[in-house]
Protein backbone atom coordinates (compact mmCIF):
# COMPACT_ATOMS: atom_id res chain seq x y z
CA UNK A 1 0.00 0.00 0.00
CA UNK A 2 2.43 2.70 1.20
CA UNK A 3 5.48 0.55 0.81
CA UNK A 4 8.00 3.05 -0.56
CA UNK A 5 7.34 5.25 2.45
CA UNK A 6 7.60 2.24 4.70
CA UNK A 7 11.08 1.39 3.43
CA UNK A 8 12.19 4.98 3.94
CA UNK A 9 10.97 4.92 7.52
CA UNK A 10 12.72 1.62 8.21
CA UNK A 11 15.93 3.00 6.73
CA UNK A 12 15.62 6.05 8.95
CA UNK A 13 15.15 3.85 12.00
CA UNK A 14 18.24 1.75 11.24
CA UNK A 15 20.18 4.95 10.67
CA UNK A 16 19.03 6.37 14.01
CA UNK A 17 19.94 3.13 15.76
CA UNK A 18 23.49 3.20 14.43
CA UNK A 19 23.77 6.92 15.08
CA UNK A 20 22.63 6.61 18.69
CA UNK A 21 25.25 3.93 19.39
CA UNK A 22 27.95 5.96 17.69
CA UNK A 23 27.05 9.13 19.58
CA UNK A 24 26.88 7.28 22.87
CA UNK A 25 30.35 5.89 22.35
CA UNK A 26 31.73 9.20 21.16
CA UNK A 27 30.41 11.50 23.88
CA UNK A 28 30.39 11.24 27.63
CA UNK A 29 31.06 13.17 30.80
CA UNK A 30 34.76 12.60 30.12
CA UNK A 31 35.91 14.17 26.84
CA UNK A 32 37.11 11.24 24.78
CA UNK A 33 36.14 10.65 21.20
CA UNK A 34 35.93 7.36 19.36
CA UNK A 35 39.53 7.22 18.16
CA UNK A 36 40.91 7.80 21.66
CA UNK A 37 38.39 5.45 23.21
CA UNK A 38 39.96 2.36 21.73
CA UNK A 39 43.38 3.15 23.19
CA UNK A 40 44.56 0.77 25.85
CA UNK A 41 44.57 3.24 28.75
CA UNK A 42 40.97 4.21 28.08
CA UNK A 43 39.56 0.71 28.20
CA UNK A 44 37.59 1.39 31.36
CA UNK A 45 35.77 4.30 29.76
CA UNK A 46 34.99 2.15 26.72
CA UNK A 47 33.68 -0.56 29.05
CA UNK A 48 31.49 1.89 30.97
CA UNK A 49 30.05 3.45 27.82
CA UNK A 50 29.36 0.02 26.32
CA UNK A 51 27.58 -1.05 29.50
CA UNK A 52 25.33 1.99 29.32
CA UNK A 53 24.52 1.31 25.68
CA UNK A 54 23.67 -2.32 26.42
CA UNK A 55 21.51 -1.30 29.34
CA UNK A 56 19.78 1.32 27.20
CA UNK A 57 19.04 -1.19 24.47
CA UNK A 58 17.64 -3.81 26.84
CA UNK A 59 15.59 -1.36 28.90
CA UNK A 60 14.31 0.62 25.95
CA UNK A 61 13.33 -2.44 23.91
CA UNK A 62 11.72 -4.15 26.90
CA UNK A 63 9.75 -1.16 28.12
CA UNK A 64 8.48 -0.24 24.64
CA UNK A 65 7.40 -3.83 23.93
CA UNK A 66 5.64 -4.07 27.29
CA UNK A 67 3.83 -0.82 26.53
CA UNK A 68 2.65 -2.19 23.18
CA UNK A 69 1.24 -5.31 24.82
CA UNK A 70 -0.51 -3.54 27.68
CA UNK A 71 -2.04 -0.85 25.46
CA UNK A 72 -3.40 -3.53 23.14
CA UNK A 73 -4.83 -5.75 25.86
CA UNK A 74 -6.18 -2.99 28.07
CA UNK A 75 -7.36 -0.94 25.07
CA UNK A 76 -6.25 2.08 27.01
CA UNK A 77 -3.95 4.72 25.50
CA UNK A 78 -2.56 5.56 28.93
CA UNK A 79 -1.46 2.01 29.68
CA UNK A 80 2.27 1.72 30.28
CA UNK A 81 4.59 -0.97 31.66
CA UNK A 82 4.47 0.29 35.24
CA UNK A 83 0.69 0.05 35.36
CA UNK A 84 0.92 -3.43 36.83
CA UNK A 85 2.59 -2.07 39.97
CA UNK A 86 6.12 -3.24 39.17
CA UNK A 87 7.70 0.18 39.60
CA UNK A 88 6.43 0.88 43.08
CA UNK A 89 6.94 -2.74 44.14
CA UNK A 90 10.55 -2.73 42.98
CA UNK A 91 11.30 0.67 44.52
CA UNK A 92 9.77 -0.35 47.81
CA UNK A 93 11.86 -3.52 47.79
CA UNK A 94 15.03 -1.61 47.00
CA UNK A 95 14.42 1.09 49.58
CA UNK A 96 13.58 -1.46 52.27
CA UNK A 97 16.79 -3.22 51.29
CA UNK A 98 18.79 -0.01 51.74
CA UNK A 99 17.25 0.68 55.13
CA UNK A 100 18.16 -2.82 56.24
CA UNK A 101 21.72 -2.24 55.05
CA UNK A 102 21.67 -4.29 51.84
CA UNK A 103 24.27 -3.44 49.20
CA UNK A 104 25.60 -4.61 45.85
CA UNK A 105 23.67 -7.47 44.30
CA UNK A 106 21.15 -7.84 47.10
CA UNK A 107 19.37 -4.58 46.26
CA UNK A 108 18.38 -5.48 42.69
CA UNK A 109 17.34 -8.93 43.84
CA UNK A 110 15.11 -7.53 46.57
CA UNK A 111 13.78 -5.04 44.04
CA UNK A 112 12.94 -7.90 41.66
CA UNK A 113 11.09 -9.74 44.44
CA UNK A 114 9.27 -6.52 45.29
CA UNK A 115 8.16 -6.14 41.68
CA UNK A 116 6.94 -9.74 41.49
CA UNK A 117 5.17 -9.34 44.83
CA UNK A 118 3.28 -6.25 43.65
CA UNK A 119 2.24 -7.94 40.40
CA UNK A 120 0.87 -10.93 42.27
CA UNK A 121 -1.00 -8.53 44.52
CA UNK A 122 -2.49 -6.72 41.50
CA UNK A 123 -3.58 -10.02 39.87
CA UNK A 124 -5.14 -11.27 43.08
CA UNK A 125 -7.18 -8.10 43.47
CA UNK A 126 -8.21 -8.01 39.80
CA UNK A 127 -9.02 -11.72 39.39
CA UNK A 128 -12.67 -12.71 39.01
CA UNK A 129 -13.43 -16.44 38.64
CA UNK A 130 -10.29 -17.19 36.71
CA UNK A 131 -10.75 -14.18 34.42
CA UNK A 132 -8.75 -10.99 34.38
CA UNK A 133 -11.22 -8.23 33.52
CA UNK A 134 -9.44 -5.28 31.95
CA UNK A 135 -11.00 -2.57 34.11
CA UNK A 136 -10.33 -4.40 37.36
CA UNK A 137 -6.74 -4.84 36.29
CA UNK A 138 -6.24 -1.12 35.62
CA UNK A 139 -7.89 -0.17 38.92
CA UNK A 140 -5.97 -2.79 40.90
CA UNK A 141 -2.70 -1.57 39.36
CA UNK A 142 -3.44 2.03 40.28
CA UNK A 143 -4.50 1.17 43.84
CA UNK A 144 -1.48 -1.02 44.54
CA UNK A 145 0.87 1.64 43.12
CA UNK A 146 -0.68 4.33 45.31
CA UNK A 147 -0.46 2.26 48.48
CA UNK A 148 3.12 1.15 47.84
CA UNK A 149 4.19 4.71 46.92
CA UNK A 150 2.69 5.87 50.21
CA UNK A 151 4.82 3.35 52.08
CA UNK A 152 7.91 4.45 50.08
CA UNK A 153 7.40 8.12 50.96
CA UNK A 154 6.85 7.16 54.58
CA UNK A 155 10.11 5.19 54.74
CA UNK A 156 12.10 7.82 52.84
CA UNK A 157 10.85 10.56 55.15
CA UNK A 158 11.91 8.61 58.24
CA UNK A 159 15.29 7.43 56.93
CA UNK A 160 15.94 10.44 54.71
CA UNK A 161 19.67 10.79 55.45
CA UNK A 162 20.29 7.13 54.82
CA UNK A 163 18.38 6.47 51.62
CA UNK A 164 17.49 9.71 49.86
CA UNK A 165 20.33 9.68 47.37
CA UNK A 166 19.87 6.09 46.27
CA UNK A 167 16.08 6.27 46.45
CA UNK A 168 16.34 9.09 43.97
CA UNK A 169 18.28 6.81 41.63
CA UNK A 170 15.49 4.21 41.71
CA UNK A 171 12.61 6.63 41.40
CA UNK A 172 14.03 8.54 38.43
CA UNK A 173 15.89 5.76 36.70
CA UNK A 174 19.43 5.71 35.38
CA UNK A 175 21.58 3.67 33.08
CA UNK A 176 24.59 4.01 35.37
CA UNK A 177 24.60 0.38 36.34
CA UNK A 178 27.92 -1.21 35.51
CA UNK A 179 27.34 -4.69 36.85
CA UNK A 180 27.89 -6.87 33.80
CA UNK A 181 26.54 -10.02 35.46
CA UNK A 182 23.31 -8.32 36.36
CA UNK A 183 22.89 -6.85 32.89
CA UNK A 184 23.52 -10.22 31.25
CA UNK A 185 21.12 -11.92 33.64
CA UNK A 186 18.33 -9.49 32.92
CA UNK A 187 18.91 -9.59 29.17
CA UNK A 188 18.45 -13.36 29.36
CA UNK A 189 14.96 -12.64 30.69
CA UNK A 190 14.09 -9.58 28.60
CA UNK A 191 15.24 -10.60 25.13
CA UNK A 192 13.61 -14.06 24.95
CA UNK A 193 10.42 -12.57 26.41
CA UNK A 194 10.28 -10.01 23.60
CA UNK A 195 10.65 -12.81 21.04
CA UNK A 196 7.89 -14.86 22.66
CA UNK A 197 5.62 -11.81 22.67
CA UNK A 198 6.26 -11.41 18.94
CA UNK A 199 4.96 -14.96 18.36
CA UNK A 200 1.58 -13.68 19.54
CA UNK A 201 1.35 -10.77 17.10
CA UNK A 202 -1.86 -11.98 15.48
CA UNK A 203 -3.46 -12.71 18.84
CA UNK A 204 -2.64 -9.15 19.88
CA UNK A 205 -4.24 -7.74 16.73
CA UNK A 206 -7.45 -9.62 17.46
CA UNK A 207 -7.49 -8.90 21.19
CA UNK A 208 -6.85 -5.20 20.56
CA UNK A 209 -10.15 -5.15 18.67
CA UNK A 210 -12.08 -6.90 21.42
CA UNK A 211 -11.88 -9.96 23.60
CA UNK A 212 -15.13 -11.44 22.40
CA UNK A 213 -14.17 -10.74 18.79
CA UNK A 214 -10.88 -12.54 19.37
CA UNK A 215 -12.74 -15.52 20.85
CA UNK A 216 -14.84 -15.71 17.69
CA UNK A 217 -11.58 -15.84 15.73
CA UNK A 218 -10.54 -18.92 17.67
CA UNK A 219 -8.19 -17.31 20.18
CA UNK A 220 -8.17 -18.57 23.76
CA UNK A 221 -8.20 -15.03 25.10
CA UNK A 222 -7.80 -15.67 28.82
CA UNK A 223 -4.91 -18.06 28.25
CA UNK A 224 -3.11 -15.70 25.86
CA UNK A 225 -3.67 -12.74 28.20
CA UNK A 226 -2.14 -14.64 31.10
CA UNK A 227 0.93 -15.64 29.10
CA UNK A 228 1.43 -12.07 27.90
CA UNK A 229 0.96 -10.58 31.37
CA UNK A 230 3.54 -12.97 32.80
CA UNK A 231 6.03 -12.03 30.06
CA UNK A 232 5.43 -8.31 30.52
CA UNK A 233 5.76 -8.67 34.29
CA UNK A 234 9.07 -10.50 33.92
CA UNK A 235 10.38 -7.86 31.51
CA UNK A 236 9.43 -4.84 33.59
CA UNK A 237 10.55 -6.42 36.86
CA UNK A 238 13.97 -7.22 35.41
CA UNK A 239 14.36 -3.77 33.92
CA UNK A 240 13.25 -1.85 36.96
CA UNK A 241 15.83 -3.60 39.09
CA UNK A 242 18.74 -2.78 36.76
CA UNK A 243 17.82 0.73 35.73
CA UNK A 244 15.16 1.99 38.13
CA UNK A 245 11.97 3.59 36.89
CA UNK A 246 12.45 5.17 33.49
CA UNK A 247 9.18 6.77 32.59
CA UNK A 248 7.68 7.65 29.25
CA UNK A 249 9.44 5.14 26.96
CA UNK A 250 6.82 2.46 27.45
CA UNK A 251 3.99 4.94 27.08
CA UNK A 252 5.11 7.05 24.18
CA UNK A 253 7.17 4.83 21.87
CA UNK A 254 4.24 2.50 21.07
CA UNK A 255 2.08 5.53 20.23
CA UNK A 256 4.73 7.08 18.03
CA UNK A 257 5.20 3.82 16.11
CA UNK A 258 1.45 3.31 15.78
CA UNK A 259 1.10 6.83 14.39
CA UNK A 260 3.79 6.25 11.80
CA UNK A 261 3.41 2.56 10.93
CA UNK A 262 -0.14 1.59 11.97
CA UNK A 263 -1.39 -0.70 14.76
CA UNK A 264 -0.50 -4.03 13.11
CA UNK A 265 1.49 -5.91 15.76
CA UNK A 266 3.67 -7.80 13.33
CA UNK A 267 5.34 -4.46 12.63
CA UNK A 268 4.53 -2.67 15.85
CA UNK A 269 6.38 -5.07 18.17
CA UNK A 270 9.80 -5.17 16.47
CA UNK A 271 9.71 -1.51 15.45
CA UNK A 272 8.77 -0.40 18.97
CA UNK A 273 11.52 -2.54 20.46
CA UNK A 274 14.16 -0.99 18.19
CA UNK A 275 12.82 2.55 18.63
CA UNK A 276 12.65 2.15 22.41
CA UNK A 277 16.30 1.11 22.36
CA UNK A 278 17.31 4.08 20.17
CA UNK A 279 15.32 6.47 22.32
CA UNK A 280 16.93 5.38 25.60
CA UNK A 281 20.49 5.18 24.28
CA UNK A 282 20.09 8.67 22.84
CA UNK A 283 18.43 10.07 25.98
CA UNK A 284 21.20 8.64 28.14
CA UNK A 285 23.85 10.24 25.95
CA UNK A 286 22.16 13.60 26.51
CA UNK A 287 21.69 12.90 30.23
CA UNK A 288 25.40 12.57 30.81
CA UNK A 289 26.72 15.21 28.38
CA UNK A 290 24.38 18.20 28.74
CA UNK A 291 25.79 19.49 32.06
CA UNK A 292 28.97 17.46 32.70
CA UNK A 293 30.04 16.15 35.12
CA UNK A 294 26.52 16.23 36.50
CA UNK A 295 24.21 13.48 35.28
CA UNK A 296 20.62 14.56 34.66
CA UNK A 297 18.12 11.81 35.57
CA UNK A 298 17.25 10.04 32.34
CA UNK A 299 13.51 10.31 33.11
CA UNK A 300 13.80 14.08 32.72
CA UNK A 301 15.33 13.69 29.27
CA UNK A 302 12.81 11.10 28.08
CA UNK A 303 9.96 13.39 29.12
CA UNK A 304 11.43 16.46 27.42
CA UNK A 305 12.35 14.60 24.24
CA UNK A 306 9.24 12.48 23.94
CA UNK A 307 6.55 15.09 24.52
CA UNK A 308 7.22 17.37 21.52
CA UNK A 309 7.49 14.43 19.14
CA UNK A 310 4.29 13.02 20.53
CA UNK A 311 2.36 16.30 20.27
CA UNK A 312 3.62 16.80 16.72
CA UNK A 313 2.40 13.36 15.64
CA UNK A 314 -0.93 13.80 17.43
CA UNK A 315 -1.58 17.12 15.67
CA UNK A 316 -0.56 15.68 12.31
CA UNK A 317 -2.93 12.79 12.81
CA UNK A 318 -5.80 15.03 13.86
CA UNK A 319 -5.42 16.82 10.53
CA UNK A 320 -5.60 13.54 8.62
CA UNK A 321 -8.81 12.21 10.18
Amino acid sequence: MKDSNFNKKIFLLVLLFTLSIFLSLNYGSVKLNLSELFLRENRIILYLRTMRILLGIISGAGLATSGVVLQAILKNPLAEPYLLGTSSGASLGAILGMVLGGTGLTLPLIAFLGAIFSIILVYQIAKENGHLPVYSLILAGVIVSIVLSGIIIFIVSIYADKVIHEAFWWLWGSLSNYNLKLIVLSSFIVIPSIFIIFVFYRDLDAISIGEEEATHLGIEVEKVKKILFILVSLITSSIVCISGIIGFVGLIIPHIIRFSFGPNHKRLIPLSAVSGAVFLVFSDMLARTLIPPLEIPIGVITAFLGTPVFIFLLKKRQKVT
Binding site: D205, I209, G210, T215, H216, L217, G218, E220, N264, T321
Partner: protein, 259 residues
Protein backbone atom coordinates in the same frame (compact mmCIF):
# COMPACT_ATOMS: atom_id res chain seq x y z
CA UNK B 1 -31.41 -32.31 5.96
CA UNK B 2 -27.89 -32.02 7.27
CA UNK B 3 -27.82 -30.91 10.87
CA UNK B 4 -25.15 -28.34 11.77
CA UNK B 5 -25.97 -27.15 15.25
CA UNK B 6 -28.17 -28.85 17.78
CA UNK B 7 -29.07 -27.27 21.10
CA UNK B 8 -30.47 -29.59 23.76
CA UNK B 9 -32.23 -28.02 26.75
CA UNK B 10 -29.43 -25.64 27.70
CA UNK B 11 -29.35 -23.40 30.75
CA UNK B 12 -26.83 -20.68 31.37
CA UNK B 13 -25.93 -17.04 31.73
CA UNK B 14 -23.77 -15.05 34.08
CA UNK B 15 -22.83 -15.41 37.72
CA UNK B 16 -26.01 -15.29 39.87
CA UNK B 17 -28.07 -14.60 36.78
CA UNK B 18 -29.37 -17.54 34.81
CA UNK B 19 -30.65 -15.94 31.63
CA UNK B 20 -31.35 -18.98 29.47
CA UNK B 21 -33.69 -21.51 31.05
CA UNK B 22 -33.96 -24.66 29.00
CA UNK B 23 -33.78 -24.01 25.28
CA UNK B 24 -33.71 -26.58 22.48
CA UNK B 25 -33.54 -26.04 18.75
CA UNK B 26 -31.66 -27.12 15.67
CA UNK B 27 -29.94 -25.31 12.85
CA UNK B 28 -29.93 -27.23 9.58
CA UNK B 29 -27.81 -26.67 6.54
CA UNK B 30 -28.98 -23.73 4.43
CA UNK B 31 -31.38 -22.46 7.10
CA UNK B 32 -32.06 -18.77 7.44
CA UNK B 33 -33.09 -18.89 11.07
CA UNK B 34 -34.10 -15.78 12.99
CA UNK B 35 -34.26 -15.27 16.74
CA UNK B 36 -36.69 -12.60 17.91
CA UNK B 37 -37.92 -11.51 21.30
CA UNK B 38 -38.20 -8.48 23.57
CA UNK B 39 -35.24 -6.77 25.25
CA UNK B 40 -33.62 -8.89 27.95
CA UNK B 41 -35.27 -12.06 26.66
CA UNK B 42 -31.83 -13.67 26.36
CA UNK B 43 -31.12 -13.42 22.63
CA UNK B 44 -27.50 -12.28 22.88
CA UNK B 45 -26.79 -14.62 25.78
CA UNK B 46 -28.16 -17.52 23.75
CA UNK B 47 -25.73 -16.64 20.95
CA UNK B 48 -22.84 -16.56 23.45
CA UNK B 49 -23.82 -19.99 24.78
CA UNK B 50 -23.81 -21.59 21.35
CA UNK B 51 -20.59 -19.94 20.18
CA UNK B 52 -18.25 -21.04 22.98
CA UNK B 53 -18.03 -17.59 24.57
CA UNK B 54 -20.01 -18.87 27.55
CA UNK B 55 -20.39 -22.50 28.61
CA UNK B 56 -23.90 -23.76 29.38
CA UNK B 57 -24.44 -24.75 33.02
CA UNK B 58 -26.81 -27.55 32.00
CA UNK B 59 -27.70 -29.22 28.71
CA UNK B 60 -25.65 -29.73 25.58
CA UNK B 61 -24.79 -28.03 22.34
CA UNK B 62 -23.70 -30.20 19.43
CA UNK B 63 -21.72 -29.01 16.42
CA UNK B 64 -22.20 -31.49 13.58
CA UNK B 65 -23.18 -34.14 16.13
CA UNK B 66 -20.14 -33.57 18.35
CA UNK B 67 -20.44 -32.10 21.82
CA UNK B 68 -19.38 -28.47 21.54
CA UNK B 69 -17.19 -28.68 24.65
CA UNK B 70 -15.04 -31.21 22.78
CA UNK B 71 -14.67 -29.05 19.69
CA UNK B 72 -11.65 -26.78 20.06
CA UNK B 73 -12.20 -23.05 19.79
CA UNK B 74 -9.90 -22.97 16.78
CA UNK B 75 -11.78 -25.69 14.91
CA UNK B 76 -15.09 -24.05 15.80
CA UNK B 77 -13.91 -20.71 14.45
CA UNK B 78 -12.93 -22.38 11.17
CA UNK B 79 -16.57 -23.36 10.76
CA UNK B 80 -18.63 -20.71 12.49
CA UNK B 81 -18.23 -16.95 12.10
CA UNK B 82 -19.83 -14.32 14.27
CA UNK B 83 -20.81 -10.74 13.52
CA UNK B 84 -21.29 -8.87 16.78
CA UNK B 85 -23.88 -6.22 17.41
CA UNK B 86 -21.53 -3.29 17.66
CA UNK B 87 -17.81 -3.33 17.22
CA UNK B 88 -15.81 -0.43 18.52
CA UNK B 89 -12.26 -0.42 17.30
CA UNK B 90 -9.76 1.56 19.32
CA UNK B 91 -6.85 1.37 16.92
CA UNK B 92 -6.69 2.51 13.30
CA UNK B 93 -6.60 -0.73 11.37
CA UNK B 94 -7.34 -0.56 7.67
CA UNK B 95 -10.30 -2.44 6.22
CA UNK B 96 -7.89 -4.87 4.59
CA UNK B 97 -6.20 -5.61 7.92
CA UNK B 98 -9.55 -6.13 9.65
CA UNK B 99 -10.82 -8.55 7.02
CA UNK B 100 -7.47 -10.35 6.91
CA UNK B 101 -7.98 -11.12 10.62
CA UNK B 102 -10.74 -13.45 9.45
CA UNK B 103 -7.93 -15.77 8.32
CA UNK B 104 -6.58 -16.13 11.88
CA UNK B 105 -8.46 -19.43 12.48
CA UNK B 106 -6.75 -20.94 9.45
CA UNK B 107 -3.21 -19.73 10.14
CA UNK B 108 -0.63 -21.03 12.55
CA UNK B 109 1.26 -18.58 14.74
CA UNK B 110 4.12 -16.92 12.80
CA UNK B 111 2.82 -18.40 9.54
CA UNK B 112 2.61 -15.68 6.88
CA UNK B 113 -0.55 -15.32 4.83
CA UNK B 114 -0.43 -17.18 1.55
CA UNK B 115 -1.78 -16.23 -1.86
CA UNK B 116 -4.83 -18.31 -1.05
CA UNK B 117 -5.52 -16.31 2.12
CA UNK B 118 -5.30 -13.11 0.12
CA UNK B 119 -7.66 -14.34 -2.54
CA UNK B 120 -10.18 -15.48 0.09
CA UNK B 121 -10.05 -11.99 1.62
CA UNK B 122 -10.42 -10.33 -1.77
CA UNK B 123 -13.39 -12.51 -2.55
CA UNK B 124 -14.98 -11.64 0.81
CA UNK B 125 -14.52 -7.94 0.04
CA UNK B 126 -16.00 -8.46 -3.40
CA UNK B 127 -19.07 -10.33 -2.10
CA UNK B 128 -19.80 -7.60 0.45
CA UNK B 129 -19.15 -4.79 -2.01
CA UNK B 130 -16.32 -3.35 0.10
CA UNK B 131 -13.36 -3.88 -2.20
CA UNK B 132 -13.00 -0.15 -2.86
CA UNK B 133 -12.82 0.48 0.91
CA UNK B 134 -9.80 -1.79 1.41
CA UNK B 135 -7.26 0.96 2.11
CA UNK B 136 -9.54 3.07 4.29
CA UNK B 137 -9.34 3.10 8.05
CA UNK B 138 -12.18 1.22 9.68
CA UNK B 139 -12.94 4.06 12.09
CA UNK B 140 -13.63 6.48 9.22
CA UNK B 141 -16.41 4.32 7.72
CA UNK B 142 -20.16 4.82 8.10
CA UNK B 143 -22.16 2.32 10.18
CA UNK B 144 -23.44 0.56 7.10
CA UNK B 145 -19.94 0.22 5.62
CA UNK B 146 -18.59 -1.05 8.95
CA UNK B 147 -21.27 -3.71 9.13
CA UNK B 148 -20.40 -4.88 5.60
CA UNK B 149 -16.69 -4.99 6.46
CA UNK B 150 -17.41 -7.10 9.55
CA UNK B 151 -19.50 -9.45 7.44
CA UNK B 152 -16.56 -9.61 5.01
CA UNK B 153 -14.27 -10.60 7.87
CA UNK B 154 -16.74 -13.30 8.89
CA UNK B 155 -16.76 -14.58 5.28
CA UNK B 156 -12.96 -14.63 5.25
CA UNK B 157 -13.23 -17.33 7.94
CA UNK B 158 -14.90 -19.48 5.23
CA UNK B 159 -17.63 -20.54 7.66
CA UNK B 160 -20.42 -23.03 7.20
CA UNK B 161 -22.57 -21.14 9.70
CA UNK B 162 -22.79 -17.37 10.04
CA UNK B 163 -24.17 -16.03 13.33
CA UNK B 164 -25.23 -12.39 13.49
CA UNK B 165 -26.41 -10.35 16.46
CA UNK B 166 -28.79 -7.66 15.23
CA UNK B 167 -26.92 -6.85 12.03
CA UNK B 168 -29.25 -3.96 11.21
CA UNK B 169 -29.16 -2.13 14.55
CA UNK B 170 -28.26 1.56 14.14
CA UNK B 171 -28.83 1.48 10.38
CA UNK B 172 -31.30 3.53 8.37
CA UNK B 173 -33.89 1.68 6.27
CA UNK B 174 -31.87 1.75 3.07
CA UNK B 175 -28.85 0.20 4.78
CA UNK B 176 -31.04 -2.26 6.68
CA UNK B 177 -32.34 -3.62 3.39
CA UNK B 178 -28.86 -3.52 1.88
CA UNK B 179 -27.39 -5.66 4.68
CA UNK B 180 -30.30 -8.08 4.80
CA UNK B 181 -30.23 -8.51 1.01
CA UNK B 182 -26.53 -9.23 1.25
CA UNK B 183 -27.07 -11.90 3.91
CA UNK B 184 -29.90 -13.40 1.89
CA UNK B 185 -27.71 -13.54 -1.20
CA UNK B 186 -24.95 -15.28 0.75
CA UNK B 187 -27.52 -17.74 2.06
CA UNK B 188 -28.92 -18.52 -1.38
CA UNK B 189 -25.93 -18.36 -3.71
CA UNK B 190 -23.04 -19.25 -1.40
CA UNK B 191 -24.92 -21.92 0.52
CA UNK B 192 -24.17 -20.21 3.82
CA UNK B 193 -26.33 -21.18 6.79
CA UNK B 194 -27.52 -18.13 8.72
CA UNK B 195 -28.61 -17.70 12.31
CA UNK B 196 -29.44 -14.14 13.21
CA UNK B 197 -30.95 -12.18 16.05
CA UNK B 198 -33.29 -9.53 14.71
CA UNK B 199 -35.13 -6.72 16.43
CA UNK B 200 -37.32 -5.68 13.57
CA UNK B 201 -40.21 -8.14 13.21
CA UNK B 202 -40.97 -7.16 9.64
CA UNK B 203 -37.38 -7.75 8.55
CA UNK B 204 -37.54 -11.11 10.32
CA UNK B 205 -40.77 -11.96 8.53
CA UNK B 206 -39.43 -10.92 5.16
CA UNK B 207 -36.03 -12.63 5.23
CA UNK B 208 -36.08 -15.62 7.59
CA UNK B 209 -37.33 -19.04 6.63
CA UNK B 210 -37.76 -20.07 10.25
CA UNK B 211 -38.14 -18.10 13.49
CA UNK B 212 -37.63 -18.66 17.18
CA UNK B 213 -39.58 -16.39 19.52
CA UNK B 214 -37.84 -15.97 22.85
CA UNK B 215 -39.18 -14.62 26.12
CA UNK B 216 -37.61 -14.63 29.58
CA UNK B 217 -35.00 -17.18 28.58
CA UNK B 218 -37.45 -19.68 27.12
CA UNK B 219 -38.75 -20.41 23.64
CA UNK B 220 -42.37 -19.35 23.30
CA UNK B 221 -42.77 -20.60 19.76
CA UNK B 222 -40.60 -21.80 16.91
CA UNK B 223 -41.56 -22.58 13.35
CA UNK B 224 -42.33 -20.85 10.07
CA UNK B 225 -42.91 -17.10 10.02
CA UNK B 226 -46.65 -17.83 9.72
CA UNK B 227 -46.65 -19.98 12.84
CA UNK B 228 -44.57 -17.59 14.96
CA UNK B 229 -45.69 -14.12 13.91
CA UNK B 230 -49.28 -14.32 15.08
CA UNK B 231 -51.27 -11.72 16.95
CA UNK B 232 -51.52 -14.04 19.97
CA UNK B 233 -47.82 -14.90 20.25
CA UNK B 234 -46.64 -11.33 19.79
CA UNK B 235 -49.08 -9.74 22.23
CA UNK B 236 -48.31 -12.24 24.98
CA UNK B 237 -44.58 -11.74 24.59
CA UNK B 238 -44.23 -8.04 23.82
CA UNK B 239 -47.22 -6.98 25.94
CA UNK B 240 -48.23 -4.34 23.43
CA UNK B 241 -51.10 -4.46 20.95
CA UNK B 242 -50.17 -5.32 17.38
CA UNK B 243 -52.00 -5.94 14.16
CA UNK B 244 -50.81 -8.79 11.95
CA UNK B 245 -51.76 -8.47 8.28
CA UNK B 246 -50.68 -10.19 5.11
CA UNK B 247 -48.02 -8.28 3.20
CA UNK B 248 -49.68 -7.66 -0.18
CA UNK B 249 -46.36 -7.98 -2.01
CA UNK B 250 -44.94 -11.14 -0.44
CA UNK B 251 -47.85 -12.86 1.25
CA UNK B 252 -45.80 -12.97 4.47
CA UNK B 253 -47.06 -11.67 7.83
CA UNK B 254 -46.80 -7.90 8.23
CA UNK B 255 -46.85 -6.41 11.70
CA UNK B 256 -48.39 -3.02 12.39
CA UNK B 257 -47.78 -1.37 15.74
CA UNK B 258 -50.25 1.02 17.35
CA UNK B 259 -50.87 2.44 20.80
Amino acid sequence: MENLLKVESIFGGYKDNEVIKGISFEVNKNDFLGIIGPNASGKSTLLRLISKVLAPTKGHVFWQNRDLSRVSLREFSQNVAFVAQETKIYFSYSVWEIVLMGRIPHLKRLQTETKKDRSVVENALLLTDTLELRNKFFETLSSGERQRVLIARALAQEPKLLILDEPTAHLDIKHQIHIMDLIKRLNQTEGLTVLTVLHDLNLASHYCTRLILLNEGRIVKQGSVFEVLTYNNLETVYKTPVLVKENPLTGKPFIILFS
